[in-house]
Amino acid sequence: MSYTARPRKQYWNEPEMGWWERVYLPEILRGLAITGGVFTRNMWRWMTGRKGALTTYYPEETRADYARNNRGKHILTQRPDGRPQCVACNMCATVCPAQVIEIDAAFDPADPDHPKYPSRFEIDYSRCIFCGLCVEACPEDAIRMVKVVPDLPSGDRGRMWLTLPELLSWSPAADVGKPYPPRPAGGPPGGEH
């Protein structure tokens, strides 16, 4: 039995250089013309008061083209009277893979329907991975993520905690993308029972 070697198939392009490329200098000049051209174009844009870069000055400037349902900053939804809808069940804190949510539950005798509420709800944004699992885990639709990117950069880790006042700063009327759920029929919940 004889063995004949099959011609090996070549999966790459053979480098082919003509004499013009081999002379080297013209191609170098062509490359320099390209990079120099980009430099001149961008410099001209900067000098005429426009922006000559594709990147952004991050904290001062954010990109306008974030996705419509971008997972940005966390917010806590509110009841019509402004108290958090959160019932401090700790499910978001449990599911959180980065373990950044800290909740202290408290008792509110004035509201017999929802006696448990969070007295402290904090998210450590120095470790949050913005996976959105907390939003999915919440049984009360109390925590959501809005499109706005949090104001993260800071020289101090202690300042990167999102606290209750800021979580409750969301204004449902202003957010058209995620409107507040309609009130159930029969008056405000927890009103007259």
Partner: protein, 381 residues
């Protein structure tokens, strides 16, 4: 006598200021130019806050060079357990010092007459007398030889650094640096020989003065128009001499960490970096002096402008001196910026390609250029 000393001390102060300033500013130019070339914004976070106010001076990130310098000074100067501590400590200075010394022979302006400059203050003018000084620290007949002599010393520094570091990467980098720098120094010398044949002198002041005329009625008589080919080769060889991309094999960070200065930290490493950036300016200054007419503006002499139509615009001596100084600095800055453009445009060579390029491509071309020049000069005589 004392007048000479005063004038030359002023020159030395000027030269040191200019060089160190170039070294600092070029780090910024490199960052920003690279950023603009690649559609980015570039380093812009370092700032100086005016004390007791909230005013932050950012100035397009100009202070990043200062921040770098400060960082390098206050960083821990970690020393490896090397056998030859003296050589290890000496190497950065052997790289750094000759580069500063090269500037001593480069003319950064035309003739200076202190008496005319201080015409308003008779006492000072009288003290200086009628003497004329070339704006150059050391006016030597063999100026160009001094340039190459000092240029050769930095090879020793690089090799010493690599050898004394007791590190294989450093050693490889040092060997690469030695092979590469010596090869390209040869090419550099051969490219300049053509110019020396044309001008008939090694004196850089005389070379610059030769370039102040007019060629073919309208072109400034710059070296680049006599020897365009040599100018290109000189630029390439000079970049290789400075060990920057595309010839940065001695420091190839993807292969050798940082090459011959792998084991250096803090300001010792800073000296190597600083030397590299100052050498960009020195190469720019040399190229300007040899090929771009030095401090000469076209149609301008020490007396003022003489336009092609025969119009004459006489200028006072002080204005001429300032124009010449600024012209030289602008030319150097443009050439430095051009080197940075090359550095951020071209990919790195392979090491065998680097040496092949020097010995099989550039050396024959330089010899051919020299031959043509010799024949041309002989025919024209």
């Amino acid at each position: 006598m004392i007048q000479d000393l005063v004038v030359h001390l002023v020159y030395i102060g000027y030269a040191l200021t200019v060089l160190l300033l170039f070294g600092t500013v070029l780090t910024w130019v490199e960052r920003k130019q690279a950023a603009v070339m690649s559609d980015r914004i570039g380093a812009n976070r370092a700032y100086i806050r005016i004390p007791f106010t909230r005013v932050k001076l950012i100035w397009w990130g100009l202070f990043h060079g200062m921040a770098d310098g400060l960082k390098m000074i206050v960083k821990e100067d970690w020393k490896p357990a090397v056998y030859d501590k003296f050589a290890y400590a000496l190497a950065p200075w052997i790289v750094f010092t000759p580069i500063l010394l090269v500037f001593a022979v480069i003319p950064f302006g035309g003739a200076l007459e202190p008496a005319k400059l201080f015409a308003g203050i008779p006492a000072v003018a009288q003290w200086f007398g009628e003497k004329t000084y070339q704006m150059q620290i050391a006016q030597l007949d063999g100026g160009l030889l001094i340039v190459f002599a000092f240029g050769g010393i930095s090879v020793i520094g690089a090799m010493l650094a690599g050898w004394s570091s007791s590190n294989k990467y450093s050693m490889l980098g040092a060997l690469r640096a030695g092979g590469q720098m010596i090869s390209y120094e040869l090419v550099m010398g051969l490219t300049v020989l053509g110019l020396i044949l044309i001008y008939g002198t090694f004196d850089l002041t005389a070379i610059v003065q030769h370039q102040s005329g007019i060629l073919l009625g309208f072109l400034p008589a710059w070296g680049v128009f006599y020897q365009p080919f040599a100018a290109t080769l000189f630029m390439a060889a000079a970049i290789a001499e400075n060990k920057r991309i595309p010839f940065d094999l001695p420091e190839a960070e993807s292969e050798l960490i940082a090459g011959f200065y792998t084991e250096y930290s803090a300001m010792k490493m800073g000296l190597f970096m600083f030397a590299e950036f100052i050498e960009i300016a020195i190469i720019g200054a040399l190229f300007t002096t040899l090929f771009l007419g030095g401090y000469n503006l076209p149609y301008m002499s020490d007396a003022g402008f003489l336009l092609p139509g025969g119009h004459e615009i006489p200028l006072p001596h002080g204005v001429v001196v300032v124009i010449q100084l600024v012209t030289f600095l602008v030319k150097v800055l443009v050439m430095s910026s051009f080197q940075i453009l090359i550095r951020w445009s071209l990919p790195r060579f392979r090491y065998d390609q680097v040496l092949m390029f020097a010995w099989k491509f550039m050396l024959p071309l330089a010899l051919a250029n020299l031959t043509v020049t010799v024949v041309a000069v002989w025919l024209l005589q």
